[in-house]
Every structure is written in structure tokens, then in C-alpha cells.
Symmetry: C2
Amino acid sequence: MIAKKRYNYFRILALPILLYGLFAMHSCYAQEHPSLILTKKGVSEIRTQLGKLPLFDSSLAAVKAEVDKEISTGIHVPIPKDYSGGYTHERHKRNFLMMQKAGELFQILQDEKYAVYVRDMLMEYAAMYPKLPLHPQTRSYARGKLFWQCLNDANWLVYVSQAYDDIYDWLQKKDRDLLEKTLFRPMADFLSVGNPQFFNRIHNHSTWGNAAVGMIGLVMDDDELVQRALYGLKNDGIKAGAKDNDGGLIKVEGQRAGFLANLDEPFSPDGYYTEGPYYQRYAMYPFLIFAEGLHNLRPELKIFALKDSVLLKSVNTLLNLTDADGEFFPLNDAQKGMSYYSRELVTAVDIAYHFGGNDPQLLSIARNQDRVLLDDSGLSVAQGIRDGKAEPFVKTSINLTDGPDGKQGGLGILRYGNDVLTLVFKYTAQGLSHGHYDKLSFSLYSKGDEVIQDYGLARFVNIEQKGGGNYLKENTSWAKQTIAHNTITQNEITQFGHDYETANKHHSDLYFFDASNPDVQVVSAKEDNAYPGTGLHRTMAMIKDDNLEKPFVLDIMKVTSNKRNQYDLPFYFMGQVMETNFKYTSPTVLKPLGTANGYQHLWVEGVGGPASDNIKLSWLDQGQFYTLTSATDAQDELLFTRLGADDPEFNLRRDAALMIRRKDTQNTVFASIVEPHGSYSPVSEFAVNATSSIKNLKVVYDGADYTAVTIEDTKGKEILFVVTNRDASVKSVHQLKIGDKVYKWTGAYHLFGE
Amino acid sequence: MIAKKRYNYFRILALPILLYGLFAMHSCYAQEHPSLILTKKGVSEIRTQLGKLPLFDSSLAAVKAEVDKEISTGIHVPIPKDYSGGYTHERHKRNFLMMQKAGELFQILQDEKYAVYVRDMLMEYAAMYPKLPLHPQTRSYARGKLFWQCLNDANWLVYVSQAYDDIYDWLQKKDRDLLEKTLFRPMADFLSVGNPQFFNRIHNHSTWGNAAVGMIGLVMDDDELVQRALYGLKNDGIKAGAKDNDGGLIKVEGQRAGFLANLDEPFSPDGYYTEGPYYQRYAMYPFLIFAEGLHNLRPELKIFALKDSVLLKSVNTLLNLTDADGEFFPLNDAQKGMSYYSRELVTAVDIAYHFGGNDPQLLSIARNQDRVLLDDSGLSVAQGIRDGKAEPFVKTSINLTDGPDGKQGGLGILRYGNDVLTLVFKYTAQGLSHGHYDKLSFSLYSKGDEVIQDYGLARFVNIEQKGGGNYLKENTSWAKQTIAHNTITQNEITQFGHDYETANKHHSDLYFFDASNPDVQVVSAKEDNAYPGTGLHRTMAMIKDDNLEKPFVLDIMKVTSNKRNQYDLPFYFMGQVMETNFKYTSPTVLKPLGTANGYQHLWVEGVGGPASDNIKLSWLDQGQFYTLTSATDAQDELLFTRLGADDPEFNLRRDAALMIRRKDTQNTVFASIVEPHGSYSPVSEFAVNATSSIKNLKVVYDGADYTAVTIEDTKGKEILFVVTNRDASVKSVHQLKIGDKVYKWTGAYHLFGE
């Protein structure tokens, strides 16, 4: 059913081309439209290319089909009521996505029905908006009007600004005046001066708010709004230390605000966004789309060149933060499965290609995405692909600094081959309010499969039944806790005492990163603030030894403390247990491991101790075998845990871990190897190389200056890995006697016997 | 490294073509070689087609690469020692697979190195075999010599017979004499007269044994062996009632034996194999490959035409027993993931195409398999595909009878669309020793995803660490138990008292099956022996209602008993719980639900009761939402269970169920709906249609003659489904008054209000 026409405007029946020119003449503004994302020149070029660019044509056809179907269901602008996942939330979300697309279709196809659709819907919003109170759901620190939080209202305005730009010239002036006066300007004010606690942060929320206000300002040619967006509110009246409903800090002393500050602060010089890739993906859209608008309408800002082209660089960084399936590593609060196939990354890749020097590697990502933006940048990408310019996107081992100046820790990614084995090692800053307390944690991937997992967030984004689609309480009680991660928890207390202000002041420090030799890649970092009085120093190496079928990861966690503590080191392995070399008892009733700090969520499925100086656990997952070998003390406790205790609403996955618990210990080293090997197929039923090739792992030296381990394989070869503890220089010469043998080397580490 | 040549035979250096003719002339047998699977005529045809058939050429190249790599590692014939998964087991298995392929390569490529490889390896076996004692592992009721069970020795001989046939003419007569005298004939005797308890059963073991003896007999032109294979041992000296190490019956009174009896008994006239598709797949290879040999060398038997062409028909049946990914439904003992991509199904599909009238639908399966046999049948398939004859394989709703005469129950499969929703309803006979005690159970699939699962077996086939790759004790204590399945357990006792002899005497009975209307498909069956004194009558309907987005399954389980009992009906749903409409408590410690019959393996994660006369449980899996709606009594107990108790070696998956427990009840009806709806993507983060469209499900009538339920949807429409209980005739006219309304219909069921 076609949407009922509620406004009786004069309708011209002339040919579209003619019609377009006539409408353009109606404009009394100096600024032409469209000019924000689509441009008059771009539209003209797009129209001459129609039918000649397969990827652009198929993208256009898909969008047209989607919008046509939507138009046939009519216009629905309900009174706001629901949280994410609920009807009114999803309806308003769909509306802004559809308006943005309909605007593009109007420009490209010059079919008036799309302009009518946008106008009619906007008129319904304009009729409703002035009467709207704050959204009835009260959870947010910054409640919106259309949605339960300003964030989503800002989403709406970022998309709708584009639609408005597309139909601007087509609209009658009185309609423009009405829309601007009753809808756009009030909304822009509401999202800024009306909600400084939302608008004036360094946070992805504010980036959306800034972009929303700035983009509608650009379309309306309202420079006051554009300035507000770029530089924030001068006086926000917010006290330093204020927090949002997720516990995130709203303001710290001396904080700047606005789009440019948000661009400056959360991005490191390497293009790493401090909240992590999931939120970087979310933030990339307003960053890049507003930047494109500024590029078009405020070229003097040279927005894409700022901070050494950090916006464009960050797209490349984001693509490097994916596994072989294109899924983002779920650092901090992150929903697993989000990937470079998302609409935000289509935008990011197309814009980065078009405005960032036409990197042919981006074309292979765009080809995987199988769609392009319906604008100048999408046109560029479609042309590049048609002309056969695409090259494989090569992901490499990479060290990414964190912090505005790149001095607040970072993230080390070691890769062997084409994501055959990928280690993600986290020594970042806290990551703002979405950060987890997991200094020096890691996760491990084999192609697109998780081997040792990071849990990600505890939330079902936009699924209303699950806490309104918002963060669940288990996100705090489990996902953010240290014990939920593959790193040290001391005395069953979460790092930094789970105190955000404290954590936010600190970061881990890189000790060294060296991926120059693909067969021996090493990253090493230190953390001295997570547990005052205790120093953590973790060194992780990805080693490909000729005697072993596949590369493996060596993990050396050195702990130094001023007192005796209990250290828990879990490995959240993914898959089904094959065998262990140690004995354990299996409780006849399952009890939680603790009462707080995440321990209350862990059932204890087994309790054991080492039978020798090495423990081994083998498991099978996705057709590959894995073995964890760890050098243990005789007194160590080994705990098989299973997530799911204190989880009455089944919000948590029933995932397993093996936890090594070392009690009453001051200084110690946890040395472990995670080793993929062999294969199994339920179709051929062949089990190949199903057992570990590591015979023994031993800490042969541990002192203030050096730590050394030996690895003996089942063929009898022994290699020795030594790492310095206090001198990361690549030039220093070292000498160490272990047993009867003297080892000499240059640099922060060395692998002997390889 | 090329295998060291250990035998100094005269080697001809002439051109291959010439050479081939010369060798053929050397034969002093009337029977030509090859003639078993490859034939002289076929080889000649294959050679003329080389380079012209893409799928044949790529299959040949893959096999050549595999065999060449294997040859380069040398010949390894170790003294037998290990269970499945262990080195010697896997090595000998690899040897027979490689010899069979090398034989084909010799014929097709006429490169002598392949013949040399087969001969040299056979000579090593011939040198070892006469000295071999029984295999040192003692678990089997019929220990082999090369392997721990005769079954695997028979596998060896089935494959090696083909290799021997391929190089027969090339071998010198003294070598043939040596091989036959010291290896083949002794092995054939060992597998038959030496192990009558293995050879003379009605069981897939015996089929392998029969084929092994028969195929080597055909190659050696030893008709005594062929007769033994076809008709079994006349006097086996086995007592009726003897059992194997898995508890399977070896002999029942008056049992026939041999290949023809095995063909006759376990296959129903519909081509359903009583052990289920996993074992049917396993048995298909010896059935079809020996049949092909008999077709070639004993054409007078008309083997493919026997029992209304049951062998060829069974291939089609087997393909219908798969989900959208080609994976077999895991009925009875079955390893999940086994599919039509297995080597056995490549054989089955190619042979069925070639000897079964060139059904073009089989070509699309072969195309998915992406490889063909290197013989006459593979050539046919490759030609058909090249010539564009392939048609989609259309899987339909199908009712398959069980039992040699088709009168021992069966299996009903209801499908909506192209496997959009697939219901597998089991009312079969016991399925011999690999059968599970799960009369009237079901499983449900959405495309290739399990919605309500059947557990399958508890075993990691060929993974040595897991109990030598054999059946685990949890297969008996869990997988075979009734409570492991989606059907009724009475008084916490497994059906038939878990007594195989009893179960083997009975089968469920079809009441009716009607898939004539794709929008209302129904299957209904009864079981009166699982619990003496209690009758179970389950009716399952797949309904597509215009008001609902997707088809759903209606499940009516009617229980009638001569006393009061406790009835447990679990639903093993796959996915994460979204919400329930009932209250439950979550224990602070987890305890097992019981102490025996499978209950000892179930942790109780929640205990609740209905808040209204309907319970609802929604979950999310693989991007789709599902809701179970069930009409419940106020006194019902609702149990969330999680598998994994009493499982010290982590042999079981941690799968969940919702169990409806009705205590102290005599006659009752469990009415439920399983409803797929909506979608969720972690990439778009859109949650569509996330809640159930069923408002109310009500049992409005239940009597001796009729049971009726109403289904009200959220749009307010109500439909009424009525099923007769004692008259399945399609012609009978019925009348029933419910409340004030009189319903009239013809046939065993009717859906009113649709």
C-alpha cells in the first residue's frame, strides 16, 4: 500500500530531468544542494555511469528494492515508548535509515516518489516533535525524545541531515522553514545545549552528537551549529567527575569538547580507538560521514589530513583488528560477530578509498562486502573493482599504540601466515567507560575460530527481551571482571579494585614488540598499577619450529610482588576436552568458585593438581586439536570452571576454562604453550596428529634480569627462549649461565637451538 | 623419497600402451582383469576421455597428488597394536585406502610405479600376516588381526580386493600364488569360518565381512568364497541369543546369513536401513561396491534389481535423510556432521547414477561432492555434469517404512519448502544393536541448523584419546536412554526397561501420514510396548498459517495408562534462552536430576511451574528466534536441565533442555508448538519479529475417539486442529461437539479456521 499523501503540494508532471533543473532553480540559498555527502557534480557523474558499474548497479538495485518495499507499507511515526528492540525504537531507527536511502534514490533516479516519502515522513516528525516530552524510559543519563537516549536521537539526525540535503532544493521554502524551525533546530539544540552531559564528552556518544549538530548545521548553512559541533559547548556547567548510567566518566578536569577534540583524544597516532574496535566501528560512521561533509563544505579545515590523516589511517587499523572472517576482536565491551560487513564499515572503506589515495587493497574488502555507498565514494570503489584494481588486503603483525599521543600502552597483534594463527595481546589504557579490567590479557584465533576466547560483552544489542537490548547486569558482574579474561587475578580481586577512576588513570607499558622474523615474533609488556605492589610482566611469542606441524604460542607471565598472594590464571579454551595428563576430582554437586568479582558466576567442574612438572590439556574444536602445556608447581590447584552460576536469566554462555591457581606465593612465573595441531573431520573420520608435540616446558631460569624457558619436543629437540626483564634495548649484549652452559645474545630476547 | 624396492621383478620398459597389452596376455585365467570394479572396457573408455571431463580430471588429479605424496613417504606396515585413532590402526587404514587408489591410477595412467607400490606393500602384508596372532586389544567380540576388530580387517580386504584386481595381470603368477596362499585366502577364511559370530549376523559388520570374502573370491575366481559370501556359513555353531561387545544380538532363532540375507533384512522396501542413516552410510559402501562386482562378474544374479531395486532405491532414501547441509539426521548411534560428502556417498551416488537409470537429480549431489569415482560410474557422472544434465535434488516430505517387509514402524519426515523447516519423527523398530530407546521422539531442523536436537552417539570416532575412538560408556548411560530424547519417559525408567531383547521384539506403528497439503502436513504414530500398560500416541503437524511469518510444528502427545505415573517430556532446544513467561528458581548449587537411566547426567539449572495455562520459552540460535509454547497443567513441574553431570572425562556436550514433568497422572495430553520466528544479525544488530505470534494453545477436547487443540495467534485468529484416536481412515466421516459448536469432517484429522 502506498503511503497516504497528507500534504497537498503542487506536483510537477514534467520529465524528471527537466523537473530537477526547475527545482534547483527554486533554491534561494547561495549554497547548492545536495552538497553534504552527495554533490551535484557527483550525482551527475553517477547518472552517466548507471548500468556500467556492476557493483554500484547491484547496490542501487538492492537499496531501491528495500526502500520501495518500505514505502509500500506506509509511513509510521509512532509516539516514542520502547527501549532498544521494542517497536517504537526499531521503527524510528528504520525510518532514519530509510529516509537517508530514499534521499539518495531521489537524487540518483530522479523519481519524485522518494522525495515525497522523505518529506511526508519529516512532516510527521515535525508535527510530533514539539510536543514530545523526554522519552518515558528513564535508564539513560541523557534521555532522548525519539529514543530512550540522546545517542539514538543523534543517530537519527546524522542520517536525516543527508536526506534533508538530498530533497532540500525540491522542497518548498515554507516546508523547509517549518522543518528547520520545529524539528531540526530544536533537535540540534536539545542534543547540545539541552544535554551538555551528552554533547561535551570525549566519548563516542558525543561524536554522534557533534556530527548530528554539525551535519544539520552544514545543510542549513547555520555556522553557529557547525562551530558548536566542532568545538563543543563553551560552558557546560558539568562538574568534573560526573558519571553516566554505565559508570563512565563524563568529565575530567580540563577536558576539551567537540568533534575535533573527539577526533584528537580517543584515536592514537596509529589510528587505534581507545574503546576498542567494536565501538570504533560504531564511531567511525559519524567521524567519517561528518568529515566527508566538512571536506565538501568546509574544505579549508582539511579534516582528512588532521593528526597525520588519523581518520583515514584508522580505517586501515580497524580492518587489521579483524580475524580471518572479518570479525572484530571483541576487546572491552564488544558484541561478537560484528564485522567489516557492517554498514559502518562499508562507509568507512568507501570513504577511505575515495579520500585516502585509492588503496587497491581496500577494494578487496569492498568486494567481500559486495555493496558500495550510493555516492561519490561508492562510485570510486565500484569503478576500481570493475577496472580490476583490487588487491588482497594483507593483514600483518602489528603493534598499535593507545592514547592521544600514543603513550598509553597499546595492543600487539602477532600473526602467522594469512591469519593461520593470530594472537591479540592487550596492554592498553582502560578504554573509557566500555573498558574491561584485563591488563595483559590475550585471545587467540585460528583463522576465524576462537582458540582462547575473550568473552566480549554481556548484552544482546537491540533484543528487547534481554534487558531492553541494553547492557545486562552480568556485563558488570562478569564481563568486565578480570577473572573473565585470560590474565592474572590476584587474591580474587579485580584489577584496580574494579574502580573506574583509578583504572582510567593508568595503562600498561610496552616493553618491546618485534615481528621482524615471521618464525619468532614476540610482544612483551608490563603492568604495575593493576595491583599496587605487584608487577606483572607478560611476554608472548609466536614460534614456528620446523619440528612442529604448526606455529604455537609461548606465554611467559612473570609476577613480582612485595607480599605473598594468590594468583589465578585462567585459559578460556573453546572446544571439547580430549584429555589431560593430570588427575582431578569431579564434584557430585556444582558450587560457585566464589561470591564476588566474577567468581560467583563460575561453577567448579573439576579440581586437580599436577602429576608432574607439566600439565597438559588437549581439546578439539572446529576440526583442529589444541594442547595447552603449562609448567606448574606441585602445589598448584587446577580448576575446571564452567560459566553460568548466579545467572538466573541465562544471560551468560556456558563456556569453560582451565584455571591455574597458585596460592601463598610472592614472585613466580607462569609459563605456558598453546599449540594447535592436527585435524579431525566427522566426514572422513580421520584423526590426524591428535596429540601434542611438546614433551616438556620448563622454566630454567628466573631472576630480576632474565627469565628463560626450555621447550623440548617429542622428537627430542630442545630450544631455549630467554627474555630480559629490565633492558629492552635491541642493542644490549647479554650473557647468562644456566646450569653449565653460558648463553650470549644481543637484544631483549633470544631463541636458542632453533 | 620413493619407496625402496624390495622385490626384483623383471620390468618392462616398453611404451605403456604396448605394455598393458602384453601384461594382459600373460594372464592364464579365463577371467580378464580388471573386471571387478574397473573393467577393461571401462578403462579404455576412461583413457579416451582424459582431459575432456573437468570433474573426472580434477578427481584424478587429486587422487594422484594424494597417492604420489603417500608413495614418497615410503611403505609402512607396522605390527598391529592400537585401537582406532592409534598409529597402527590409522596406518593400516591409510594403506588399504591408498592401495585401492594406486590400483586405479595404475590402470588409468598406466604408470608402473603404482603397481609396484601396491605389490610391494602387499608383499609386506603377505610376509607379516601368517605370523600374526589375534590383535592384542581385546575389547571386540570378534578380534581381527590387522585391526582390533574383524570389521576393520574386512574393510581392508574390500578395498584391497580392488587393488589386487587392478594389478592382477601385471603381477607374476608366482606372486599372485604367494599373495593368495599366504594372505588373501587365509584372511577370507579368518573373516568367515574363523569368525562366524562376525560373519553370519544380520548386521553391517557381516555385510562388510560378506563383501570382503566375496570380492576377493570374485577376483581370485574362487566360487566357493563367493557362495560363502552370498549365502553365509551353513553351520556357524552359534547359539541364538549370543551378543557382541556393544550388547547387540548376534543371532536370533532361524536367522539367515550372508550378503543376500543382509540385503533383504535390514532394508525396508522403501530403502530405509534399520540401524539408521549413519550406519546405512557406512554399510552402503560394501553393499554397493560388492554389488557392482557381482553385476560385472555374476550378472545372472541381477543384484541391482533384487527386492525391487532396493540397493539403488536406498541411495535416494539416504539422500533424503539429510538436512540442508547434506548432514545425516543423527538417529540412533550416529556421529553428527557425517554427510553426503563422505567417500561412501560419493561411491553411492556415482553407482546409483550409473546403474540406476541416470537420475539427473543425483548429478547435483555429485556436483556438490566435487569428486567422482575413478571408474565407469564416475565417468558417467562426470559426463552427465559436463553435458549440463544436472538437476536440483528435491527433498520432499517422505514416510519411510522400517523392517524387511516394511511392517515394523518407520520414520516420517515433514519438510516445508527447501528444508526451511524439517521435522524428523521416529517410530521405527529398535535398529539392532545401535538403536536408541526413543520411540516417538523427534528432532527439528531449520535448514542445516538443529532447532530441537537428537543427541546422536557418545563417541569420538577414531580419536584415540577418547576411549580408543570407540563407544564411550556415556553412550549407554546417556545417549541410548530415553530421557536423552524428545519423547516421554515414564517414571524415570527408560523405554523397554533398557532391555535390548525386549525392545528388539517391538516397533511403533504408523497411525497415518499425510503430506499432500504442503501447508498442513501431519504424521501420527502409536507405541504400546515401550511401557507395558501405557499407550503413547503422538501426532505432529507442520502448519503454515497465513497470519504467521514462518511454518511451525504442532505436537500432540497423548498418553493413556492403566495406572498413575510420572511423565517427563524434554525439549532439547539449541540456543540461548531469551525469555520465559513462567517463574522458576535457580539453584545456588547444581545437583543431578536423578541417579540412573540418564538422569544422573542432567544438572538442574532451574525449577519452576506454569504461571498460566500456557508456558512459553523463547531462544535465539544461528540468527533465528524460536518459541516453544506448551499447554500445561497448574501442577506441572518445569525443569531447566543441562547435560554434564557424572561426566568426569568431559565426554558429553553441555546441552540444555526444558523438561515438562507431570506427576501422578494417568491419562493426559501434552500439546506443544515449536515456532521459528524473526531473525537477528550481530552485524546489522537488527532484531526482527523477536517474539512469538502464538497467543494461546489449548487442549479443548480429549477423549477416547478424538483430541482437539485450538491455536490463537496474536492477531486474534483461532484455528482448531482435531485428530481422531481410533480411526485413521481417510474416508470416515466424523462429528464432534466442542462447547456449543459442532465440527464435522472427513478423515483422520482436520484443521478448522485456516
